[in-house]
Symmetry: D2
Subunit: 390 residues, 4 copies
C-alpha cells in the first residue's frame, strides 16, 4: 500500500488549475513513492472555490488560508496565490505549523521576504520547493544532463528572452499582474524569473547585472473583476504600476556572459521562453513554444571524410530514454505545458517520500529573488549592481 | 447533478492507457454533459489488468470481454484491442447487448467486417464512434473550419505521409503489429488509415486508388512476449506477414488529386503524420510532431502596397478562440498527443448525452476500410481500383 | 595562358540569362581549366538578341541557329530553347558539325528523340552534357558524397515533390510552357524531370512506374506575346494542352520505394523542389527553396550516455569543406540559384578541358526521358509500366 | 551610350573579391545609369594584386594607394582595407583629390576619425557611401518599406544578435581581425556595427547605451602570414587585443527598447546576423543565414470568423514585387550574400549618376561610429553613456 500525503492548495485560478491537474495525474501516470490526496482547496470566494473543487476533484474547501495551514489534515501547503506578499505570509505561517511547502514562483516580493521564508522553513525543518516548472520539461532536463556530462565543454554564453504579447492592446484592462502591490513586478518577476532560474540551473550563479525597463502603456481601463486576462474594456483608467518590459546584461560567477530580456509587448510571441547556451564543444537552444524540442550543435561533427556534417540538430526529447518520458507515450507523441507541473509534483513527492533533496528549493528561490532585486536596484541606480549572496 | 455513463474498456496497453487518461481528464478539464464512470477494465491477464485498473483508476476488472459486454453495469463499450478481427467480434456482441460503442481505428480487418459492424450498431440503435484521434487536435479542427469557411477556395491537392522508424532495426522483434492475423495489415491500417480519415474529413470521399507496398525485412526474432514494442532480441526468427511500407495515388470524387504514403522505415521520423492541402485561395499544412501548429498560406496576402507579403504562416492553434482550447491553458502553452483523446471522449459523451451526431461513426470507419481494401486490391491486381461505396 | 573555348548559345530568355551569367562568372570565381569565350548569342528576334547580347556580354549575335551550329568560330553549342522538339533539331545538327553540346533539360520531347541525340553525339565523338542544375547545389553534391560514403546505409525510400503555383490564377495566359507542341509536357518534363534526375543521381535507376495527371484549368487567355510568364490577360481563350499536375509511384532497380509529384497549383510553393531519402543508417532531406541547407538524421546519435541525441540536423552546406564552396564566401554567407549553373559550367569546362567524364550526359538525359515516357504511357494505359532501358 | 565611371579599388582579399564581383555583375544584371569600369586594383603585394586583378577582371594594378587616389584615371575610390586607421588615411587623401568614395564598414577606428572623413568629403563636394551591405538584402529593404508604410505601428522593441564561431578554437591564429591596432575592435566594429546600422535604418537613432565585453581566449598562436582566416597553428603566442564578445542595452531617441550582442564564440552560428522588431501592429524578424526570408506577424490576422489566424509568416522576399528582385530570377529562386554588394553598387552608381542621395553615407557611418564609441566608453566607465551627436 503506497504512502499518501494530504495536500492543501491555496488559489484556484490559472496556477491552481495547473497544480490540481498535476496532483490528479501524477499517481496514475507516474506512480510516485508518495501519493497525493487532494484534500483541501482554499480560495476567498466561497462559491468559486466550491465550484473549482468539485470540478478539479478536491475533497474539501476553505475560504481562509489561515485555517488551511493550521489544519491537522494537511501535510503539504501548495501556494498558488499571486506572486507578491501573499506568498510570504502564507509560507511563514505554514512553516510555523510544520507543513511542507510547495510555492509558485517567484518566491517572494522582495529578497528580504524570500530570506525570511527560507529561515522559516529551515527552522521548522519542513521540506520546501519552488515551482520553476520549466526545469521539468524533458528537453530542459536533458539539456542539464548534457551540460553535466560535459557535452558543451566550457560555457561562454547564456542568451535568454521571455516574450509575450497579451497586454499589447492599450485597452487591455488593469488586471492584478499589472498592479505592483499584488504582483510585485511585471515581466521581471513573472517571466525573467523563469529565465534566471534556468540560467542558475544550467550555467551557475549570476554575479552582477545592469538593467533597463520600460512601461509603454501608462494607464489602462480598470477591470470590473481583475482575476482574468480577458480584456473587458471600461471607461475608468488607472495607472499601470509595473514595467511592461525589462532587459539586463549579466556576468556569472564562472565568467559566463549573459543576456536576459522579458516583455509583454512582443507582438506574436505568446509564450516565447527561449534560451541559448554556447560552449567550447557545442551549443543548445530551447523554446517553450516548441517545448519538446532541444536544438543541439556538436562541434565534433565538423570533421568528417566528406566535409563538415555539423548543424543544429532538432532533438525531439520525447523518447523513453529522455527524462520523465518513460511515463508517457511513444517517441514524438508530444507532451504539453501541464506536464512540467506533473513532473515537478512527481519530484516533490518522491523527494519528500524518500528524504532526498528537493530542487529548486527556497534557497534557490531566494537566489533568483536576489537577482531580481539586483536588476531593480541597477535600474534605479543606473549602473552595474552586484547580486547579494543568499 | 450531471448525468453519468458507465464505461467498460477492453484493452489496457498503449491505447487502453490513452483512453483511460481521457476518461479521467475529461470531466475535470472539459465538463462534458455526460460524465464517464470508469467502471470496468477488461484484459486477458488477470494480474496485468488488475494492476492497470489500480493504476489508472478503474473500479472493476474482468478477464473475459464477453462478460464485460453483457454486464448490465456497462453503458458504453470502448474497444482498444489490436486492430484486427477482435474489433468486430467485440462490437457485434456489444451491439447485441445494446451498448454504445467507441472503437479504436481502423474499424475492422476487412470491409465486410466493417459493414457487419455498421449493420449491427444501426440495427441495435446504439451510438457508435471510431477514434480517429487526429481529427481532435485543435489545429486539425481549425483546418476543418477554415476549409468549411471557404478560406482555401476550390481544393486541388491532398498530399499526406505518415512516417515512423521504430522497426528499422532488423533485430527488432516480431511484435503483434507485424503479424497479419492479429493486426490485419502493417502501416496501411495502422498509419495510412489516419491519413485516409483526415482526407475524408477535410477533402471528401476517395474514389479510386493505385498502390504499392514493400517489406524490407522479411524475418524477425520471435519475441517471448509480443505485447510491447521493446526489442527483446531472440534467436528464433519468423516471417513478417505485414508490409513495412505502402504508398498510393488517389482521385477523390470531387476531382482532388491525392497522394498517400506510410512507412515504418523512415529513419528519424517518429510520428510524422503530415498533410498538405492546396486550394485556389491558399494552402494548409499540419504535422503531428508539431501538432499545435497549423501552417497557412493565404493568397490574398500576395498583393500589398509594398509588394507581396504572402508566406506560410505558423498559426499556433493554442488560443482560446481555437477548437477545444478554451478548456486548457493560455496561448502557446501547448498541449500534447493525449489531448486528442480527451477531446474525442468529450465529443463522444456530449453526442450521446445530447443525442447529437457522432463523427467519425462506424459508417466513416467503414468508408476508411473501403479505401484500405481498395489499396490492398490494387496492389494485388497491379492497377487502379475503385473504392466501394459504403 | 589558359586555354579557351568558344561558346555559342541558343536562347536568351530565362535559361539564356542563367547560362550567360554562368559563363561570365565561372572564370573570375572558379578558374576552370578551359575558359569560356562568350562568342555568339542566337535568337529569332534580331533586336531582342542584340540587346541581350549587349547586356549580357556576348561578342556576336545571329538569328538563325543553323548558322550558329555551322560556324567555325564555335566550339560548343549551348541549347537553351524551350524543352520540346527544338532541342533535338539543334543538337543533331550541332553534332554533325562536330560541336560539343550543353543542353537544357529535359533533353528531348520524346525518348526516341533523346536516343537520336545520344547516337548523334556518340557518333560524332563530341562531348555532351545535360544541365540538370540541381546536382550542382553544394548541399546536393554533399548528399551524393554522404550516400557514396555509406552514411545512409541501405536506401529504403525516395520521396520527392516539385511544387510551384505560378499558373494557379485561371486568368494566367497560355504561355509556351502550357503548349504541348512547344513544351512537350507540363510539370512532368519541366519539374518532375529534375526530381527524376536527382533520384537517378542519388539512388539509382527507376525500373517501373504508375502515374496520374490532372489539368485543373482547361482554357486560358491567349497571350499576345507568349515568351514571358507575365499574366497579360486577354479576351480570347484557347485550350491548355499540357497537364497541370502529375504524380507517380516508382520502384527502383535496387528495390528502393519511390514517390514523385509535380504541380503548378500548390498555392504558396514557388520553387519547392524537395526530396527525402531514408536509409538503414540515416536520412537526408533537401529543398531548393532553402538550397544551402541539408537536413541529416544520423541513427548513430540515438545512443548516448544521457539518452538519444538524435535529430534532424540542419547542415549549412556553405563551408569551404563542401563541394564548390571553396570558390565563394565564408561559412553561412549563402549562395543562390544561379550558382548551380556556374558550378555546372565549371564541371563542363573542366571535363572538356581534361577529357574527364561529364555527368549528367545525354545518356543520363535519355534515361530521364525514358522515365518521363513511362509515366505518360502509364497514365494513358492506367497501370504500371516498365521504364525502357537506354 | 551609357555613361561610365572609373573605379579604383584598394584591397583584394575577402571584401575586395566581393566588391569586384559587384562591379562585374551590376551592369549585365541590373543596368545602372552609370556603368563601372574596373580600372585599377591596389594592393601592397605586387604579385598578389596582379594575380587578383587578372582573375577578377581589373585593367591595371598599383601597389601604392597614394598613387591610386591621385590618378586622374580614377573617378571613385573604393576602400576595402581592414577596418582600422587605413580607412581614414585613404579617404582623406582621396577626398582631397576630388574622388567619390565608397568605403567598407565600419567607417573608421574612432569617432573623431569618422568626423574627419565626413568633413573631408563634404568640403571636397564628392559623393560618399559606406557599404553596410545588409541594407541591400531584399528582405531587409522590404522590412524598411513595411515599417515606413506603418505596418508595424509604433515600434516597441529592437532585438539583435550577430553571432559567429570562427575563432572558437583556442589554436586559431592571431589574424589581423584580432589585432586592435589594425582592426580597431573585435566583434563590436566587425559585427555589431552591422546591427547598429540596421537599427538606425529601420528604427532610428540610438540615444544611450550600457555595455559589457569579454575576451575568452587571451593569447593565440602568431600566424606566419596574417591575411587569412585559416588556422595555421604555430608555437609562438601573443596577446589578443580585441574583445571576443560584446553586448549592450540601448535606448533609442524615440523610446524604442533595444538589445545588441555580437560574438565570435557562439558554436554553430556562422553568420547569424539576426534582428527582431516588435511594434503595436506586428513584428518582423530577419536572419542573414536565411537572408531571403522575412518573418512577419500581422496582429490584424488575430480576428477571423473561425478564430485567430495569426502567426509568423515566412515571406520569401524573392518575388519580382520585392526590392531589387526584378533583376534576378523567378520567385523562390534564391539569391545569396554577394547580391547585397551588387545592389549596393547599383544604388551607388545610380546615386552618383543621377545626383540623388546616397545612403548610408559618411554621416550615417559616423553615427554608427558614435554608438560604437559610446559602447566602448560605457564598458570602460561601467555605466550608461550617451551617444554623441554627429
Amino acid at each position: 500500500m503506497a504512502k499518501t500525503i494530504n495536500i492543501g492548495l491555496v488559489g484556484y485560478k490559472f496556477m491552481g488549475k495547473a497544480h490540481s491537474n498535476a496532483y490528479r495525474q501524477v499517481t496514475p501516470m507516474m506512480q510516485p513513492d508518495l501519493q497525493p490526496i487532494m484534500k483541501c482547496l482554499c480560495g476567498r470566494n466561497a462559491e468559486g472555490v466550491a465550484a473549482a473543487a468539485r470540478q478539479m476533484g478536491w475533497e474539501q474547501t476553505v475560504t481562509d488560508w489561515h485555517q488551511l495551514v493550521a489544519s491537522p489534515d494537511i501535510d503539504l501547503v501548495d501556494i498558488c496565490t499571486p506572486s507578491g506578499p501573499s506568498h510570504t505570509e502564507i509560507a511563514l505561517e505554514a512553516a510555523q505549523h510544520g507543513k511542507h511547502i510547495f510555492c509558485e514562483k517567484p518566491l517572494a516580493a522582495s529578497l528580504s521576504d524570500a530570506r525570511a521564508m527560507l529561515s522559516a522553513v529551515e527552522q521548522a525543518g519542513v521540506r520546501h520547493m519552488v515551482n520553476f516548472n520549466y526545469r521539468r520539461c524533458p528537453a530542459v532536463a536533458l539539456a542539464k544532463k548534457m551540460i553535466g556530462d560535459g557535452l558543451l565543454g566550457d560555457i561562454y554564453h547564456w542568451r535568454s528572452v521571455y516574450l509575450q504579447d497579451w497586454i499589447i492592446d492599450p485597452d487591455f484592462p488593469l488586471v492584478w499582474r499589472l498592479d505592483k502591490s499584488i504582483a510585485g513586478s511585471g515581466p521581471l518577476g513573472d517571466l525573467a524569473a523563469h529565465s534566471i532560474d534556468l540560467a542558475h540551473f544550467l550555467v551557475g550563479p549570476i554575479a552582477k547585472v545592469v538593467g533597463m525597463e520600460q512601461t509603454f502603456v501608462h494607464e489602462r481601463p480598470v477591470a470590473s473583476e481583475q482575476g482574468g486576462l480577458q480584456a473587458t474594456g471600461g471607461v475608468e483608467r488607472a495607472p499601470v504600476t509595473v514595467e511592461d518590459a525589462v532587459a539586463f546584461l549579466a556576468r556569472f560567477e564562472n565568467g559566463v556572459f549573459g543576456t536576459f530580456e522579458a516583455t509583454r509587448f512582443a507582438a506574436g510571441r505568446k509564450n516565447y521562453n527561449r534560451f541559448e547556451v554556447n560552449g567550447s564543444r557545442g551549443s543548445l537552444c530551447w523554446n517553450m513554444e516548441t517545448m519538446n524540442e532541444l536544438e543541439y550543435y556538436d562541434r565534433s561533427n565538423e570533421s568528417s571524410g566528406v566535409g563538415s556534417l555539423a548543424g543544429f540538430r532538432l532533438i525531439q526529447a520525447t523518447d523513453g530514454s529522455h527524462p520523465y518520458m518513460g511515463s508517457w507515450w511513444p517517441p514524438a507523441h508530444i507532451i504539453g505545458y501541464e506536464h512540467g507541473f506533473i513532473h515537478g509534483v512527481y519530484d516533490l513527492l518522491n523527494g519528500i517520500g524518500n528524504g532526498t533533496p528537493l530542487a529548486p528549493d527556497f534557497r534557490d528561490g531566494a537566489r533568483c529573488q536576489a537577482v531580481l532585486e539586483a536588476v531593480t536596484r541597477s535600474i534605479a541606480q543606473g549602473g552595474w549592481t552586484a547580486v547579494e549572496a543568499v
